[in-house]
Symmetry: C2
Subunit: 323 residues, 2 copies
């Protein structure tokens, strides 16, 4: 599979590095608005072609799929344009910042029998399967707790009066979309849509959530998901049931380790032997190779559910992202 | 100071053991409804006198103060009776399960110039002072996270159709009152009354909260406090600010260790060299010795604030404790 890259940030480089470990995944082109940025990125990542016109890259027959790592608010336009040019699409998380836009993308991919996929690494990791397979040992679930707090290097700029992209409401950033989204994917991948949600956020004067607590109420159990870009913490994920609990040190974004504790045992599991961004690409590659539209729709439905909850959470604090 | 004990549970024994390390604190009597239980407790804890009639113990001139470790719902009646008999009173947490009752006790103690005090160990520990003194290093606060989840040995009984005291709404128990109360004391001792609160609970069919998430909104920052008696977790407390964070491994109920992380340093602090129940007794003893009514009222106001928030939280889930 020959992939073109949209976006030249460090996430794109990390992604390429991990994705190249998947057999037959090649990166053949990169798009950047600025030639110099594109050239530098292409050189650093051993990519042959640089485009400064996105449509030209999308007309390149060597490009079968695009990986979109542009700012959040451009995910929709870039994905739509790529699908219109009959390319398969991997969108970096968050899928979109608006539920209606997400549905539009999904409908477009489905109508054209193209593969569309959100690259949210944690739900595709081996530990996710491990948890899914062992969760019944926890008995009736009661409490999920996840936090991902990481001080953003751009937060200094925000405090000094600037508006970096990740804290710009017009750019679909903020703590929920950028960090808590990992906790949300983790929880909703395991348990689906909650019965109700409540979002409590610290908001900058421009409205963006710099940190927040998202409560998901599943009736018989509840989840409290914390994400912060304005402060740091020791991160940890937990799933608590009546007969045992699972602890994920360092948080559910990386899913590095799983500790399963039941009445008789405490077991530490490390099944991840590849870079964390690898697994999602392997899933996507297999899916495309096998023309597995059922799996595509399974993951797309999950992404839609996540965007729906995130959109509603943001609405509760007065934020509505256009894209 | 000569103390009479009301209640013969294991918390009373632990309390006595720790309190005896405070100079001139002696335990001279115990009250139990059952003679055999009282005798056994007196023998185990080297106490001379056993009463099965509470009023008789309260008329004993050797008893200057009483320590109340009866079931939560009896705290009010026992404290009131003791104050009426001109005894100083230490009430095991929770102070009461009802704000009006709490105010009544405080007014009674104040009108009689008696000492009334809630024995909630964590706010009196050396680490609490340490945190209070260093918290400005964290900059503008953003997020507090505390959880205390401990599977209750009585929960099995509840699941099998019985109603043990701690899960009986008539006995003022539940996850908020029994465990999350530590998180609440910790947070409110540092930051006072929040602007608003929200309680999300898992409730047994009898209405009692077996676990729950209490959100305290302080405007510029938020706290998410989790307590569970129906499931366990790795417990941890965190205070997150823009320039650093404090992590409290194993939770803020014990306050065993404090880890202070700022841009340049990560420092682990262990200042607690006595049993965790010791410090509160030392505070109380000093207060009485020095006739320090100002300090009494400082702590009583704090306890009243905590009961007020807890009462409101329970009201939100349809629970109203009479005592």
């Amino acid at each position: 599979m020959q992939v073109g890259v949209i976006g030249t940030g460090s996430i794109a480089s990390w992604f390429i590095q991990a994705a190249r470990l998947v057999e037959d995944v090649e990166f053949v082109a990169v798009y950047s608005r600025a030639q110099a940025t594109g050239d530098k990125f292409a050189q650093d990542n051993r990519i042959d072609k640089v485009y400064t016109d996105l449509e030209k890259m999308l007309k390149d027959n060597d490009v079968e799929a695009v990986y979109i790592a542009s700012p959040n608010s451009l995910h929709f336009d870039h994905a739509k344009l790529a699908l219109e040019h009959n390319k398969h699409v991997l969108i970096e998380k968050p899928f979109t910042g608006n539920f209606d836009r997400a549905k539009e993308l999904v409908a477009l991919a489905q109508s054209k029998s193209l593969f569309l996929f959100e690259t949210i690494c944690n739900i595709h990791m081996p530990h996710m399967d491990y948890i899914k397979n062992r969760i019944q040992e926890l008995g009736q679930l009661r409490m999920i707790q996840c936090n991902y707090s990481q001080y953003s290097s751009r937060y200094d700029a925000l405090l000094s009066g600037k508006t970096p992209n990740v804290f710009n409401p017009k750019m679909s950033g903020g703590a929920l979309m950028d960090l808590n989204i990992y906790n949300l994917h983790f929880t909703m991948y395991l348990f689906g849509k909650p019965e109700s949600i409540h979002y409590f956020a610290n908001q900058h004067e421009n409205g963006i959530d710099t940190s927040g607590i998202l409560i998901l109420d599943y009736g018989e159990f509840k989840a409290t998901l914390t994400g912060a870009k304005d402060s740091a913490s020791y991160n940890v994920g937990q799933i608590q049931g009546e007969t045992g609990h699972i602890t994920i040190p360092n948080g559910v974004n990386g899913l590095e380790t799983v500790i399963l504790t039941t009445d008789d045992t405490k077991k530490e599991v490390v099944e991840q032997d590849k870079p964390r961004l690898y697994y999602q690409v392997a899933v996507f590659k297999d899916m495309v190779d096998n023309n597995d539209f059922e799996l595509r729709d399974f993951y797309l439905e999950h992404s839609l559910n996540v965007v729906e909850v995130a959109t509603e959470a943001l609405r509760q604090i007065g934020l509505e992202f256009e894209y």
